[in-house]
């Protein structure tokens, strides 16, 4: 039962994470390969503040704000780049951020990580049991889904898609593509920060090793497999892949296998990405309507 609750909590957190990436990759066509950086910023900010005694609610607000601010600051130079280059710039940002977490030992305790992150407390309720935490993270996942759906279905969301499909045409129609991309990136970063906060207070321990390229790949695979540019795709992807990943972890395997299991699982994820791109780039849930410019 605890296992099932654990699975559902992780699914909820990764749903938020995937939904945030989908705004950028799916709806705006931004190849963000460093999305984990904003997840990490959210996690570290909230963890450090609550460990310093700041109430959770304030730490939460600060974490989301900082994730958004970093997204904004990165996007100013990076979004001047076209597709592939933007991908490398974000990849580099993810790596450099991890370097900072590893090296600024006075702040982050470096590779030792931050243990003992307190459980969140909202309106006097401490979310310290699995069912309560599930309620909290599922609530945030639902709220994220609702807010992002609202944004995507609004004229703003249509403008994002227009920028994605044909930047020149969108510019001709008076949409400032650069500004729309920045907004999309900031929205994605804020919600990635939210996922990070949920993760930090669930795991109660974070270290730079939790925020590697591997996480970005997992969340990218969730979005791409579920169906990028659709509302439900990331949810479908999160449920499928997290159940796969976490259940493998609970198989009773001989210890000499577990060393091989990690890389093997990542190999499968990499292969899945390639196979999806070659045979079904649209993923499980297909994006409806609108001629995609391919």
């Amino acid at each position: 039962m605890d296992l099932l609750l654990h699975l559902c909590i992780v699914v909820a957190i990764y749903t938020v994470f995937a939904l945030s990436l989908n705004v950028e990759v799916g709806y705006t066509g931004l190849f963000n390969f460093g999305h984990v950086a904003f997840f990490a910023i959210g996690a570290y900010t909230s963890a450090l503040l609550t460990l310093a005694g700041v109430p959770f609610a304030w730490a939460f607000v600060a974490a989301l704000f900082l994730a958004g601010l970093c997204g904004f600051l990165l996007s100013i130079p990076a979004l001047k780049l076209q597709g592939d280059y933007f991908g490398i710039a974000t990849l580099g940002f993810g790596e450099i951020l991890r370097m900072i977490f590893n090296n600024e030992v006075w702040l982050t305790k470096g590779p030792m990580g931050l243990p003992g992150i307190p459980r969140p407390e909202f309106f006097g309720i401490v979310f310290d049991t699995l069912p309560l935490y599930l309620a909290l993270s599922a609530g945030f996942a639902l709220a994220t889904f609702a807010i992002l759906s609202f944004i995507i279905l609004s004229p703003f969301g249509r403008a994002l898609k227009a920028v994605r499909d044909d930047e020149t045409a969108a510019e001709i129609l008076g949409k400032n593509a650069y500004a729309f991309k920045i907004k999309s990136f900031v929205i994605g970063s804020v919600f990635a920060g939210l996922a990070g906060v949920l993760w930090a207070h669930y795991a109660t321990f974070i270290s730079p090793g939790d925020f590697t390229l591997t996480e970005t790949i997992l969340v990218l695979l969730i979005v791409v497999m579920g169906g990028k540019g659709t509302l439900t795709g990331p949810v479908v992807g999160a449920v499928t892949l997290i159940f796969f990943q976490e259940s493998v972890r609970f198989l009773r395997l001989p210890p000499e296998w577990t060393r091989l299991l990690g890389p093997l699982q990542q190999m499968i994820f990499g292969l899945l990405l390639v196979i999806l791109m070659v045979f079904r780039p649209e993923g499980i849930v297909r994006e409806k309507g609108g001629a995609r410019v391919d």
Partner: protein, 291 residues
């Protein structure tokens, strides 16, 4: 050691690292020039090149270094071709996001495959440490002589190939305009395959040199992809000589940079340079080769 030779040693180390980055960057920019996309799996060609040598030098082959290099580079070239045949050719006409995610997938697959076979730990070729020689007041090991020599050979080879041979001419035509090259009767398929082989072999050579000088681990690809990319940005994307200069500059900046900042940030210097270039010359990319 007096301070003059200390600084000149730093510069020398920068040039050595820069030579290797230049080899990475030239391969990356070559594929970009011909196929117009950034091969995110380029770092894995670097890493696998180094591991192929490790494979041939270890059991059951046990080849000595000089004999193991050729089959290792051969396999690296084949790996490049395999990427082209199995993934990039089938989706050549797909949109860029598809290409990019596929390249990312290959990169993840290959990185973890190396970890699966050889483990995540840092390895060396287990060669005897040879005493270095003093050379006009500077300290150089055999490996480091090799780095400079091999880089000069590679650059000369690439120059001859690109500017003195028919194949090179067809590759340059392709990078100017693929469709125009095709209707002019250029065998574009052959030129693309050649580009993959050259790119992969350059990556393999660079990876091997780097591993000889330092060590090898499955993560060496990603870090160097970012550096190679920063180098291509400095030199102008798609420009072979620019990649060479860019690589040297990144190497120098890193080695001189650690005199001033913590060595823990050494790998971040390339990224900072990249951001600075973007802020200073934001349209360096948008202006050219935008599609």
């Amino acid at each position: 050691m007096d301070s003059f030779s200390y600084y000149s040693q730093t510069v020398l180390n920068g040039i050595l690292a820069g030579c290797i980055y230049a080899l990475f960057a030239m391969g990356l920019t070559l594929i970009y020039g011909v196929l117009n996309f950034v091969n995110f799996a380029h770092g894995e060609l670097i890493m696998w090149g180094a591991y192929f040598l490790f494979l041939f030098m270890g059991e059951p082959f046990g080849l000595p270094l000089y004999f193991a290099i050729l089959p290792a580079l051969l396999l690296t070239g084949c790996l490049g071709l395999a990427m082209e045949y199995s993934v990039f050719r089938p989706i050549r006409k797909a949109n860029r996001l598809t290409l990019l995610i596929a390249a990312m997938g290959i990169s993840v697959f290959l990185r973890n495959a190396a970890q699966f076979f050889w483990g995540a730990e840092v390895r060396t070729y287990g060669l005897e440490v040879m005493p270095g020689t003093r050379f006009i007041g500077l300290y150089l090991t055999m490996q480091q002589f090799a780095i400079i020599g091999v880089t000069i050979l590679c650059v000369a080879g690439v120059y001859l190939l690109f500017f003195k041979s028919r194949l090179g001419k067809s590759m340059r035509a392709l990078s100017d305009n693929l469709d125009l090259a095709r209707i002019s009767g250029i065998d574009t398929k052959r030129a693309i395959l050649a580009a993959w082989v050259i790119s992969a072999v350059l990556a393999g050579i660079g990876g091997i040199l780097m591993a000889l000088d330092t060590n090898l681990n499955p993560e060496m690809g990603v870090v160097n992809l970012i550096k190679a990319f920063a180098a291509t940005l400095i030199g102008g994307v798609g420009n072979l000589w620019g990649a060479l200069i860019g690589g040297l500059l990144i190497g120098l900046a890193e080695n001189i940079g650690v005199l001033f900042i913590s060595p823990g940030y050494k790998d971040g210097i390339a990224f900072v340079i990249m951001v600075l270039i973007l802020l200073a010359r934001p349209y360096v990319i948008l202006g050219e080769r935008s599609d």
